[in-house]
Each structure stands twice: as structure tokens, then as C-alpha cells.
């Protein structure tokens, strides 16, 4: 079966845009098969005019080895009205229906908002709060530095680029959370009258942020390249490469544990241990390579 991978940009709470997108893909003969943080996989099928619906299950987790009893009951209720499970990703459950004008899974707008909000608190909101707690202090220091001693910050190169990226992250996270909570407030008022409110679409802003990030990274690398700063370039490369290796390793480990029917919390714990071990190894390995390439024999002997 032919498959296609694409990078997609949808906010976790943007069920309206996601539904339209999946229906459009299905009409063009591509059925969603799998979603991950990095890319989504579609399978080639006959073009189909099917309806998708996104629901949220707050107790669902990517670490679950199999669907819980509650989820299976929910699935059965859905199947009774023609809704089949396409896939499950974190707290997001995606169903599709082949009937024309099927009864939606959520017919009460209040319940749709409640289910989404509970799911947001399970994972998404907490991760974003942690991101803010880490990025805001760094952004504040960067901005203060730019105000008081701008020449020094700009000269430091790395300090400038890291500062810009972390500040961008903090600003975008605040924007994202504001969009969600403002929309939720509006949607709750409409729900009082039994009306559904389409979720907010921020894909344009997301696209701009991603392209701007790539631009900053490119300028940063170019800046180092121009200065023939091999060490710095290698450091940047190895930094991102070690993240990539660790991410791949942890995801593979998590999937393996799921396959072995390991329970959710044990899976989380073991995956975390794998993350620690792999990060430790890759960082040491890349430091070794950098020292070797830059001919730093004494440091190698000292550390290894």
C-alpha cells in the first residue's frame, strides 16, 4: 500500500480545521493512518467522501498498551451509529463515518468543550506551562541584556540567537494559550444557546513562527561558518543531533514497551530512564568527536 508522510501544523484544540483537513485528504484518496509530533502518515485509498470527527478522552495516553475498558465502551457506542476509530493520539480520538449526514458523536456543545478542556489539562496545558516557566526567565534576561548592553549580546553570537529563539518560544506559547482561553470563553457563551463554535485556526501564525525559526538557525549557522568557527558549528550540530537521536530512541523504546503490554506508568518510567541513558551516551559521544576533530588531545585524555 502506498504511503505518504507530511508535516502538519494543527493546534491540539483545533478540531474544526483538523476535521476539514482529514476529510479533504480522504476525498483526494489519502486516509490518515498515524500521527506523531514529527509527521503524519497517510495511506493511499480510493477517494472517499467520509465524515471525520475529533473527540477528546482525558484519560487516554500515548503510553497505554491497549485501549482501556472506558475507551472500548465509548468505541462501541460510536460504532453503533456508524463511527469507526481511525486512530488515537494522546488524548485525541479520531473517528470516521461512511454514512451520509451521520449523527455527530458530540451533539451537545457544552460536553464537547468540557471533554476538550479536561484533555487539555491532562497534557497540553501542563507542558505549555512548563515551557513558560523555563523560557520566561531566559527571555527576560535576554531582553534586559539587549536593553542594557546590546553590543555585548550581539557580539556574543550564540547568546543573541538563543535569546531570540527562546523569547520567540515564550511569546508564541503565551499567544497560543491566550487564543485557546479566549476562544473557550466565547464558545461557552454560544454553548449556552446550544450552538457550536468552530475552533480557532492559528496555522498562519504557526507557519510564520516555524519559518522564522529556520531563518534564525540558518543565520546562526552561516554566522559560525563565516567565522570559520568549526567548534561552534560542530557543537550546534551535535546538540541538535543528540536531541534527534534521543527522541528517536525514546519513541522506539516507548513503542516497544507498548508492544510488550507494559502498563502506562511503568512505560513512562522506563522510557524516561531510556531517555536519560541515551542522552548521556550521545552527549559524551559527540563531545568526544568534537574534541577529536579539533585536535584537543589533552581534554580527551582528561575526560575519557
Amino acid at each position: 500500500m502506498k504511503r505518504k508522510r507530511r508535516q502538519e501544523l494543527f493546534a491540539f484544540y483545533d478540531d474544526t480545521a483538523l476535521k476539514s483537513h482529514l476529510e479533504k485528504m480522504a476525498k483526494n484518496g489519502w486516509m490518515i493512518e498515524k500521527m506523531s509530533n514529527y509527521f503524519w502518515t497517510y495511506v493511499k485509498t480510493e477517494p472517499r467522501d467520509i465524515t471525520f470527527e475529533i473527540t477528546y478522552h482525558h484519560a487516554a495516553s500515548e503510553f497505554d498498551p491497549h485501549r482501556s475498558d472506558d475507551q472500548e465502551t465509548f468505541d462501541e457506542f460510536c460504532e453503533h451509529t456508524g463511527w469507526k476509530l481511525a486512530l488515537s493520539w494522546h488524548q485525541m480520538q479520531i473517528y470516521y463515518n461512511e454514512k451520509t449526514s451521520p449523527t455527530p458523536i458530540q451533539t451537545d456543545p457544552n460536553i464537547r468543550l468540557e471533554a476538550m478542556h479536561k484533555a487539555m489539562w491532562s497534557n497540553y496545558l501542563i507542558s505549555n506551562i512548563i515551557i513558560l516557566l523555563i523560557s520566561i526567565p531566559i527571555s527576560v534576561m535576554f531582553i534586559a541584556g539587549m536593553i542594557r548592553v546590546p553590543e555585548e549580546v550581539i557580539k556574543s553570537g550564540t547568546g543573541l540567537f538563543v535569546g531570540i529563539l527562546v523569547t520567540l518560544l515564550a511569546v508564541y506559547t503565551i499567544f497560543d494559550l491566550t487564543v485557546y482561553f479566549r476562544w473557550r470563553k466565547k464558545a461557552l457563551i454560544l454553548a449556552e444557546n446550544g450552538e457550536f463554535c468552530p475552533s480557532p485556526n492559528t496555522s498562519i501564525v504557526q507557519r510564520c513562527v516555524i519559518y522564522f525559526t529556520y531563518l534564525i538557525l540558518a543565520v546562526w549557522l552561516l554566522n559560525k561558518f563565516i567565522k570559520f568557527d568549526m567548534l561552534m558549528m560542530l557543537s550546534i550540530f551535535s546538540y541538535y543531533a543528540s536531541f534527534a537521536v534521543a527522541a528517536i530512541a525514546v519513541n522506539k523504546a516507548k513503542d516497544m514497551f507498548k508492544h510488550l503490554n507494559v502498563e502506562r506508568d511503568m512505560n513512562k518510567f522506563l522510557s524516561f530512564i531510556v531517555a536519560l541513558i541515551v542522552s548521556f551516551i550521545t552527549v559524551r559521544f559527540f563531545i568526544y568527536i568534537i574534541l577529536l576533530v579539533t585536535g584537543n588531545r589533552e581534554m580527551i585524555e582528561l575526560l575519557f
Binding site: 457506542f77 453503533h80 451509529t81 449523527t103 458530540q106 451533539t107 457544552n110 460536553i111 468540557e114 446550544g194
Partner: protein, 104 residues
């Protein structure tokens, strides 16, 4: 929040409770409601799932039997009272309408 929600019942909540006057399982409610209302009211599977949980938490319904994953429920006296209150509200509205526009 459920407390505020069940101050007045939506049509979907009303018909679910109505179905549960007699012992009934979740999936049958999905069929019975459109049947009872000639297709006028439809309850979504997800909405039903959530409402059953909420009604249970509010003790407006109770579980009668569990056969594997199939659970059956029936309305409680508290649920019946809420249904009656809603019926009274609807009939009061209907009667006020009839006073002004005449009955049909």
C-alpha cells in the same frame, strides 16, 4: 458544574432520562430517542457516554446490571423528580403560549 447544568435539562438530557424510566442499556438509548421523537432528537454517542457518567455522578440514574462491557441503567427517584420539574416548566411555558396565541 453538573449542578448548574442540570438546573434545566436540554432535550437530549430529557429524552435520555425518559428512556431510563425502564431499565435500558446505553446502546438502546441511541436507538430509542430518535424513535420516540420521530427523528427530531438525536443523541450523539459521545454525548450519551458523557451524560450517563454525569447522571450517575449526580445519582439521577443508577446501574442495574453489568454484562461484560454492556451496562444497563434505570432512573432514580432524584432523576424522576428532575424530569417532573422539567415537565412542569415545559407545560407552564406551553400554557403561557396558549393564553396569548390560543391552543392548537
Amino acid at each position: 458544574m453538573p449542578r448548574e447544568k442540570f438546573k434545566t435539562l436540554t432535550e437530549q438530557m430529557f429524552y435520555i432520562l425518559l428512556c431510563l424510566k425502564e431499565e435500558c442499556c446505553g446502546m438502546d438509548i441511541l436507538d430509542r430517542v430518535p424513535e420516540m421523537t420521530n427523528g427530531r432528537v438525536n443523541v450523539g454517542s459521545g454525548t450519551l457516554y458523557n451524560l450517563l457518567e454525569q447522571f450517575l455522578a449526580e445519582e439521577m440514574i443508577r446501574e442495574t446490571k453489568v454484562e461484560g462491557r454492556k451496562r444497563s441503567y434505570i432512573i432514580t427517584p432524584k432523576g424522576s423528580d428532575r424530569l417532573r420539574e422539567e415537565y412542569d416548566r415545559i407545560t407552564a411555558q406551553a400554557s403561557d403560549y396558549e393564553k396569548l396565541f390560543g391552543g392548537k
